[in-house]
């Protein structure tokens, strides 16, 4: 019930946010913040009451009773569809990330949104609710429902409060994700149908579908449906082109949620569904998948380097970073998977922060074009310093979360395929190139006279507080990532055992 | 039966010719009146086929349907002619090619 409550609180919170606009103009954001923090607090209280949380027990992937939480209620029994939610270490990490970044996104929207604030905060909360659902739903239909529905508030956030080209961006975002979602729907139904024809039972439950027997070819095609849907969301090369537009045009809070959380649903889906449901098909497909990952790493980095739009650059950097996640997942060993999970968390913070900085700049300068910036450190040293921190985080400075992630991915990947590792590792170089270019063009360089008398205001205490949360998070992840790793470890372990199959050849490391 | 014993196929051929003529008329005529006439031809082609089939099977059903078709045709044309009057009034023409306010 806890999990249902988590979602319901956010849904109701959204309505409250709309209503609260009638009380005062500034009320919605306060309500939204209160709701998210209350949700977070509620989760933490519930967790602290559970004995398992101190020692996350190893969940058996296909036995829900071993999971941290499990909830099941009938929904459409005619098709064996139920409201089944469950929580294990990875879900928990993602849920926590969602709520924390949700609060951060609300903080980002504090002064950014000037019209229809109530509706904005409502959309924000609803999209968070959808994401929570995605991370907790273990009934495939329910998962699909959340997967699709979370996009609608996101669509509105881009379409209503976005920037100059919002219509195009929102449309592109929606069509990409929906079209791929349809493929996933077909895959889900096909999987269920295969299971139905084998067992005679209609069920959409993850736990029941885990060991569905099917022909290799069938598995391959069904798996591809899932794969494409998740990779579009990730986004992986070459399905990424919606992302730069959506990120660039979204309002700051939207970008934070998009980059910080929404992309992670794709990675989560791969780990939770695409591979475990079709272990052989997925792992036979690992080579192309890893190639796509490596291509994403390189391509994203090169394109990021060519951008002049602050947010677009960060968007492409996300493409590059999420390429590591794809690599990590399809290397499918504990090191790489831990790296992927770590990257999901760390990238969430580092990119969210960069988008907030971009948003703050846009709010102050009314442009995102880096050619018009330059030398902003002079007037906004605090913002500059913060930006520097997150830039070096994003280029993978050891001691910060992203490094741990990328290194683990590479380490795991190296055991699977040396040459892809080498290609991916060039991402460290190109990553540094665009990251530093970003810094150079915006905060460093000759002071642009244009802004001299513009009365630019440096980060205030609210912004610094928000940033501090993320900075501390990244530092902690960077030098003591063990809690995150421990949370994910048992889950990954059981997934690995589940998918361990003699037919899957592990490519020997080249001598 | 007795009297003329025309094979069913021959009548069907005739009726299909009639039907085609009607269709052709529909496609090449621009005047709404002629279009309605072509429709009549098509309906009657169907009616003829029914009658022939009924005769073939020795059932009265074919002729029943024939009556029905006549009624239907009458109803269609009655409404059609009513509309034609309005068309003349509002479009000042009976050329259907000019009645194309809506497109795209």
């Amino acid at each position: 019930m806890v999990m249902v409550n988590l979602i319901v609180i956010l849904l109701i919170g959204g309505l409250l946010a709309i209503l609260s606009e009638r009380i005062s103009d500034t009320m919605p954001r306060k309500v939204a913040m209160a709701v998210v923090l209350a949700d977070l607090l509620y989760l933490l209280i519930c967790l602290s009451g559970m004995p398992e949380i101190t020692q996350l027990q190893a969940p058996v992937a296909n036995d829900p009773s071993t999971w941290l939480m499990h909830f099941k209620a009938d929904w459409i029994p005619a098709f064996g569809i139920s409201i089944e939610l469950a929580l294990d270490g990875i879900s928990l990490l993602m849920v926590l990330l969602t709520l924390v970044l949700g609060a951060i996104a609300i903080s980002a929207s504090w002064t950014d949104i000037v019209v229809r604030k109530g509706f904005f905060e409502a959309n924000l909360l609803w999209s968070l609710a959808g994401v929570l659902g995605v991370f907790m739903a273990l009934d495939l239909m329910l998962f699909f429902l959340f997967w699709e529905v979370m996009l609608i508030p996101m669509y509105f956030m881009i379409a209503i409060w976005g920037h100059e080209n919002r219509g195009y961006a929102a449309m592109k975002f929606f069509i990409f994700t929906q079209a791929s979602g349809l493929l996933m729907l077909i895959s889900i139904l096909a999987l269920v149908a295969v299971n139905h024809s084998g067992t005679g039972i209609w069920t959409f439950s993850y736990f029941d579908l885990l060991n569905t027997e099917m022909a290799e070819r069938t598995a391959h095609w069904i798996m591809l449906g899932f794969f494409i849907a998740f990779v579009v969301k990730l986004p992986g090369f070459p399905f990424h082109t919606w992302l730069p537009d959506a990120h660039t045009q979204a309002p700051t809070a939207g970008s934070v949620i998009l980059a910080g959380i929404l992309l992670k649903t794709g990675a989560y889906g791969l780990i939770r569904f695409a591979v475990p449901l079709f272990p052989e098909a997925a792992l036979n497909f690992s080579y192309p998948a890893m190639l796509l990952g490596a291509a994403g790493v390189v391509y994203g980095a090169v394109l990021a380097f060519g951008q002049t739009d602050f947010k677009r650059l960060i968007a492409y950097s996300s493409v590059s970073h999420m390429g590591f996640v794809l690599l990590g997942i399809y290397a499918w060993n504990e090191l790489a998977l831990q790296g992927a999970v770590m990257q999901m968390v760390a990238h969430g913070f580092s990119t969210a922060a960069l988008f907030m900085i971009a948003g703050s700049l846009q709010e102050r300068l009314h442009t995102r074009d880096m050619r018009e910036m330059s030398g902003l450190w002079q007037q906004m040293p605090r913002m500059g310093a913060v930006a520097m921190f997150f830039v070096v985080a994003s280029l993978g400075l050891p001691g910060l979360g992203n490094f741990v992630a990328e290194f683990l991915v590479l380490l795991g990947l190296f055991q699977i395929n040396v040459w892809i590792t080498v290609v991916a590792a060039t991402g460290l170089i190109t990553g540094a190139a665009y990251s530093l270019l970003l810094m150079q063009r915006s905060f460093q360089g000759e002071v642009n006279k244009k802004w001299a008398n513009y009365g630019l205001i440096d980060f205030g205490s609210r912004e610094m507080l928000t940033m501090a949360v993320m900075m501390i998070a990244l530092i902690v992840l960077g030098i003591y990532p063990q809690p995150v790793l421990d949370a994910a470890q048992p889950v990954l372990q059981s997934l690995l055992e589940l998918t361990a199959s003699p037919t899957v050849d592990v490519v020997e490391v080249a001598q | 039966m007795d009297g003329l014993n025309i094979p069913l196929n021959h009548i069907l051929l005739v009726s299909s010719l009639l039907f085609s003529i009607g269709m052709l008329g529909l496609m090449i005529r621009r005047n709404i009146i002629f279009i309605l006439m072509s429709l009549e031809v098509m309906l009657n082609a169907a009616a003829l086929a029914f009658v022939a089939a009924g005769a073939h099977w020795g059932q009265p059903d074919g002729q029943v349907v024939f009556m029905l078709i006549l009624t239907v045709a009458a109803a269609e044309v009655a409404v059609g002619l009513g509309l034609v009057l309005q068309v003349q009034k509002r479009f000042k023409t009976l050329d259907m090619d000019r009645a194309n306010r809506m497109q795209g």
Partner: protein
């Protein structure tokens, strides 16, 4: 004929009675509000009649088949007609036009639709279709002024008559081949006839398919759709889109199932081609359409393409899941389309200029209820979860997968992906920040919109009771 047969004919009888009462009323004292009330009461009684007749399901003569399925659809289209009735009260041409006859036509058209739904024989099919169609011509042309309604009506008349001719000719050929006019009879003799002269029965079935395909506006028989949708008064368009098409589709499926025509691969291929063409053409045409009524017209083309997938699957699956899917789909489609037309009708009225998508800009902010309803309707048409349209698509895909119709599913995905674009365009326009006048619809219409909105959401988010109910039909 015996007494129970009259009981099972309750809906038809009540509708006929209503039409007579309306005629008498019009000849005694013309008063359109009274006529409206009579019609409403007539529809309400028809609903009652439909539930009453559930206890007397049986074949009524050779012509009609009264069963739970047809009674369900009788109720559905009666409900839809009630909605149309509510929308018709104030929306079109309030100044001076006398609408008594309009209500009469509406009742007659519904009567035709009910006959069509219950038909099990070519003659009843013909009767129902023509009754419904002829009344519709007049309804479309009902406004006294303007060229568009007239143009729509005359086009519909001519093309529809042409389609009827095709249909009839097809029937004639089938009759010639089998000597049967009832579906069941055809089904029984078709195989033998096929063995003797396959060309005859196949050509006949194909022509029937073409005739019905016209009414369902399947590509390439679709071209009338946008013009008629646009030209007709909005409530009439709504009627055409839901009642007329729904009834015809039921007739088609009955003919197809009882006539056992699904076993002929040639016909199936033809259906596949029509389905594919409809899915693609409908969505492509709608892509950049500016007029919302035309847009909905194109969307309906695509939707009947999706629905056709279910019919095609008949060749591979037993009828249970198929008829369940058809029922769910048509219900969802009807509710959704009615919602859309209800909103269009209350917001845009009969003014062509207000039917452009751009005229809907900013609707979110000054008419939130209508905008939300239209948004949900669009999402439902696009097949987004939590809406009825999603569950409908769920059925179609499930059926498609179980019958291994992968090619059709691929086209469905492509079509739906294209579809998202234009549905979203409407939503996007409404969400634009433009201040507009805050005029609002009357309470009845608001209530109606709210009810429709709720039913889309309930069907989408809690379909279990309905699925169980439909399964029991």
């Amino acid at each position: 004929m015996n007494a129970t047969m009259f009981s099972s004919l309750a809906p038809i009888l009540i509708l006929s009675l209503t039409s007579i009462v309306l005629m008498i009323q019009a000849s005694v004292k013309r008063d359109q509000s009274v006529a409206w009330v009579i019609t409403a009461v007539g529809f309400a009684l028809t609903l009652w009649g439909a539930s009453y007749a559930r206890d007397f399901t049986q074949p009524v003569t050779i012509l009609l088949q009264v069963d739970h399925w047809s009674l369900f659809f009788t109720s559905l289209i009666t409900l839809a007609s009630l909605v149309i009735l509510v929308l018709s009260r104030d929306t079109f041409s309030p100044e001076g036009e006398r609408k008594e006859e309009y209500y009469l036509l509406l009742v007659l058209s519904v009567l035709g639709a009910v006959v069509l739904i219950q038909s099990s024989h070519m003659v009843s099919l013909l009767l129902g279709m023509e009754l419904m169609g002829v009344a519709l011509y007049a309804m479309i042309a009902f406004p006294e002024r303007g060229q568009l309604p007239l143009e729509g009506a005359i086009k519909y008349l001519v093309l529809s008559a042409c389609a009827s001719a095709m249909l009839l000719y097809g029937f004639a050929l089938i009759y010639a081949a089998t000597g049967e006019l009832s579906y069941a009879g055809i089904g029984a003799k078709a195989a033998a006839a096929f063995a003797v002269n396959p060309m005859l029965i196949m050509a006949g079935s194909a022509m029937v398919l073409a005739g019905i395909g016209f009414k369902l506006s399947l590509a390439p028989f679709h071209m009338w759709t946008p013009d008629v949708y646009q030209g007709a008064p909005t409530p009439v368009t709504g009627f055409l889109a839901t009642v007329s098409k729904g009834a015809v589709f039921i007739a088609l499926s009955r003919f197809y199932m009882d006539g056992a025509l699904y076993q002929y691969s040639g016909l199936n291929t033809a259906l596949v081609v029509l389905a594919v063409a409809s899915m693609l053409v409908g969505n492509w045409l709608a892509l950049r359409q500016e007029n919302i009524k035309r847009l909905l017209a194109y969307s309906s083309i695509a939707h009947f393409g999706y629905l056709l997938v279910v019919l095609i699957a008949l060749a591979h699956l037993d009828a249970g899941l198929i008829s369940q899917s058809i029922t769910f789909y048509l219900t969802a489609y009807t509710v959704t389309t009615l919602t859309a037309f209800a909103v269009v009708s209350t917001v845009a009225g009969e003014d062509p200029a207000k039917q452009d998508i751009s005229a809907f800009e900013g609707l979110f902010w000054h008419r939130p209820l209508e905008a939300s309803a239209l948004t949900v309707a669009m999402l439902s048409l696009a097949g987004i979860p939590l809406t009825a349209g999603f569950m409908a698509k769920f059925f179609v895909i499930t059926v498609g997968i179980q019958s291994d119709l992968w090619g059709l599913l691929a086209v469905l995905v492509v079509g739906s992906a294209v579809g998202i674009y234009y549905y979203l365009r409407v939503i996007f326009a409404m969400s634009k920040s433009i201040e507009g006048d805050g005029q609002s619809a009357n309470h009845l219409e608001k209530l109606l919109v709210l009810a429709l909105l709720a039913s889309i959401l309930v069907l989408g988010s809690w379909p279990q009771p309905f699925i169980v109910y439909v399964g029991g039909l």
